[in-house]
């Protein structure tokens, strides 16, 4: 058999945890090989070893049949291995070309030969249908485009083996489709791909085979065509997973959040949210559907106090909060699962334990007379960790940085739900979570609702919005297009509204 990569009996320990325990993964030439596993199963760790960021404690790696030691990412590059990390490594005020050639600049005498580089980048971009503008600045292009720049970076270095670590978690549905096409092109050009994703649909769409790992252990490798999504999910979690969310009809009560004619500026200093009005009542989940960048972030940040309100009002529990500080809003019972877990959600250099008290460190029993009360913090964090199944090598004492992406997310969700807020704002709550965790988080959101709390759910995933919400507000270009009952709508209707077609126009 013609394997380009063989990772044989790999073992890797971190303090307190065996991240990889005797794992074997074999990549055939010209295939897309999916790597599936729960949050913290050890996928990124395994790929980190293939890319030279970590070193296996035991086991061997073969590239094109010969055993190699991959000491660092440069060695990996030389072996033709490239990796797209979920969090891109781009210099924001450089152009795409400058980013791509960074570290291997072509020289012409003493100067960088940017011209020939630009031509080469343009050629590559065309050949693989990437549509990247070689001279655009990174800060001016979309996340999806940035990812393509990362792909070009690998191709420019002549990588034959491409690793994608959860590439779709940050993409819009359209961008995901495009990426799938790009992957097919790459395969046709003779590349081989390892794809990490939690979305079984995507595995079904592009992958040939799929290796499943669970809690660091190898479970098996299956042929994707002949295996159902259900079966893969079961292999990965170890129990059957239901994809449908079950919930009783909602019984909304008092209005908790009332937004009236809200206008908010975006980062470019123009109105990102225009005359937006919405109510969320106790005991209901209102979903916001829309393509990324259509005012969702502005809305959420205006409610939570992270962004200035231009005009209009936000009222929570009959109290205007337009000018209240973030702290006051938190104390009023607003909790927020942020969209960017590394920017807002976590202090990566704090332990998990310290992260769990980010909003309540100044309250009893976590502090008294301004002194932190360690035992109380400890047991509070332990409870969240247990409730939300946050897996970390050393429990609450682990640094947030060392957690797998999905476990970081679970820790944040746990922290926010543990505040038992009257209004929970959940932005992309299940980004990067495995199917089992998604099921659990959805259950918890609905449980909040059933306890009589208000939930505002912002998600780019239509499935999630439609399954979890009771009502759905659709935004386009910063404006509210319409509000529909989740039980009375369908993907088509919402899709049209997301594109800016108003309800009335359609019914005529």
């Amino acid at each position: 058999m013609d394997y380009v990569v063989e990772m044989l009996n790999i073992r890797k320990e971190f303090p307190g945890i065996v991240a990889n325990d005797n794992i074997t993964l074999q990549l055939k030439r010209g295939e897309v090989h999916a790597l599936l596993g729960e949050n913290g199963a050890g996928k990124s760790t395994l790929m980190g070893m293939l890319f030279g960021m970590y070193h296996p404690d035991l086991g061997s790696i073969k590239i094109n049949g010969s055993e190699v030691k991959i000491a660092n990412p440069n060695v990996a590059n030389d072996l033709g291995i490239g990796m797209v990390h979920q969090h891109f490594k781009l210099v924001h005020n450089f152009t795409t070309t400058q980013n791509i050639i960074l570290g291997i600049e072509p020289k012409k005498g003493l100067t960088v030969d940017i011209k020939s580089a630009t031509t080469k980048v343009a050629e590559l971009s065309k050949r693989y249908g990437l549509n990247v503008d070689p001279s655009a600045k990174i800060e001016d292009i979309s996340v999806g485009m940035q990812q393509r720049v990362e792909i070009l970076k690998m191709l420019y270095r002549n990588a034959e083996i491409l690793i994608f670590d959860e590439p779709t978690a940050v993409l819009t549905p359209q961008e995901i489709n495009d990426l799938m096409e790009i992957m097919k092109n790459l395969i046709q050009e003779g590349k081989s791909i390892i794809l990490i994703t939690h979305k079984l649909k995507e595995i079904k769409a592009v992958a040939d085979r799929c290796t499943v790992i669970r809690r660091g252990k190898y479970i098996g490798t299956v042929d994707v065509k002949s295996t159902s999504e259900m079966e893969m999910a079961k292999m990965m979690v170890g129990r059957p997973v239901s994809f449908k969310v079950t919930k009783i009809p909602s019984t909304p009560k008092d209005t908790i959040l009332k937004i009236d004619n809200l206008c908010v500026q975006n980062n470019k200093k123009v109105l990102g949210l225009k005359n937006f009005s919405l109510e969320v009542r106790a005991g209901e989940i209102v979903g916001i559907a829309g393509v990324e960048g259509n005012g969702q972030s502005e809305l959420v940040e205006a409610i939570t106090g992270l962004r200035k309100i231009e005009s209009g009002s936000v009222v929570v529990k009959d109290q205007p909060i337009n000018t209240l500080s973030v702290k006051k809003r938190i104390d009023m019972g607003i909790a927020h699962i942020p969209e960017d877990r590394h920017k807002r959600g976590l202090i990566l250099d704090y332990t998990v334990e310290d992260n769990m008290i980010l909003e309540i460190y100044h309250k009893e029993p976590f502090s008294r007379y301004k002194l932190l009360n360690r035992p109380a913090i400890h047991s509070y964090a332990d409870k969240i960790i247990a409730d939300f199944d946050v897996r970390a090598g050393e429990g609450g004492a682990s640094y947030a940085r060392s957690l797998s992406g999905g476990n970081q997310q679970k820790a944040i969700i746990g922290r926010e739900i543990a505040l038992d807020p009257d209004l929970l704002i959940a932005v992309q709550p299940t980004r990067g979570l495995d199917v089992g965790s998604i099921e659990y988080i959805h259950k918890r959101l609905i449980e909040q609702r059933d306890k009589g709390k208000a939930v505002l759910l912002v998600s780019l995933e239509l499935d999630e919005v439609m399954n979890v919400s009771d009502r759905i507000a659709i935004v386009n270009n910063g404006e509210l297009i319409g509000i529909v009952q989740a039980s009375e709508t369908n993907e088509n209707e919402i899709g049209l509204m997301m594109a800016g077609v108003k309800g009335e126009d359609r019914h005529e």
Partner: protein, 372 residues
Amino acid sequence: MNKAGIISLISVFLGLLAGAVLMIITGHNPFVGFMYLIQGGTLTLERIGNTLATATPLILTGLSVTFAFKTGLFNIGTPGQMLFGGFCATAVGLTSNLPSILLLPLMLLAGFLGGALFAFIPGLLKAVFNVHEVVSSIMMNWISFWIVYYTIQAYFKGNMETESRLLADSATLRAPWLSNLFGGSYINLGLLIAILCVAVVAFILNKTTFGYELKSVGFNRHAAEYGGISVNKNIILSMMISGGLAGLAGVMQYAGNANNIQIGVMPSQGFDGIAVALLGGITPIGSLFSALFFGLLYSGRGFMNAMTDVPPEIADTIIATIIYFAATSILVERLLDKFSKSRKTAQLSEATTADPLYPDSSEKNTEDKGDN
């Protein structure tokens, strides 16, 4: 011992090694040189006392830089803050007739507030206008320098053009019992105050909600803001406390080690604070030990100079080299990783503790281990 401590020790070792090489090149015996360098700072009780006295302001400037660092701020204005703090204390000491027991606390307070004032301005500029604190605090150094220069000459001039009048003994931190204990050295109460400050700062940073806030802002200000922590308030407070500590260093220097203020020189202890903090691994306790070490080098170099013909510049070079290695501790860290790695390949099954992540881990706060 933790990793930061090991890195500091390696930095010291490499610095001493470089010094030894220099001595060999210039035709001196490094063992003899080092022997006198160390003896110069430790041979007698008096010398030990002087070493401790030399270290006293350094402890505080190191602590000052450390404190700001914890909030993600680079306070490079310590010389100016130290000078101005010392000046305020001196002004109080020269103009008031209070008994020692009241006067000294008042001088310490004046010193603290003076330093805090000069750090408040860069803090405010940072918080409100996002002016980088390095730029504004360097400029504050010169403002402090010239204000003190002018005011001393105009109102407090002493026997010489370049210094203030002498403080009465009762208006300094000198304590005969302490001085006598150390064979008449110029050690003074400043040392005890400095050690107390180390303990207080360590306590604030590690045990209090205020410390939690400061470090949150330092590690990730976006997340701090999200958590309801006022970023601006903490930046300003952190700068002020940092400046206050530097101001106290000024009191130690000008109303403890000396008894008047020199004008026309920027106190070198201010900039040395950066080195002390770096070598101390940006921790309060680390600052204490690294300041003592610098104190030893500074007070031993004169003796080395007198007893051998090794020029005192060698001691300065050693200090500079150590600073260099401490400042580039990333390199030392890499080296350390390399060593532990090559040992590890011998016994593969041993668990790994530390992994080098990316070469570009400088952007720690916004990037994670790049996975997921």
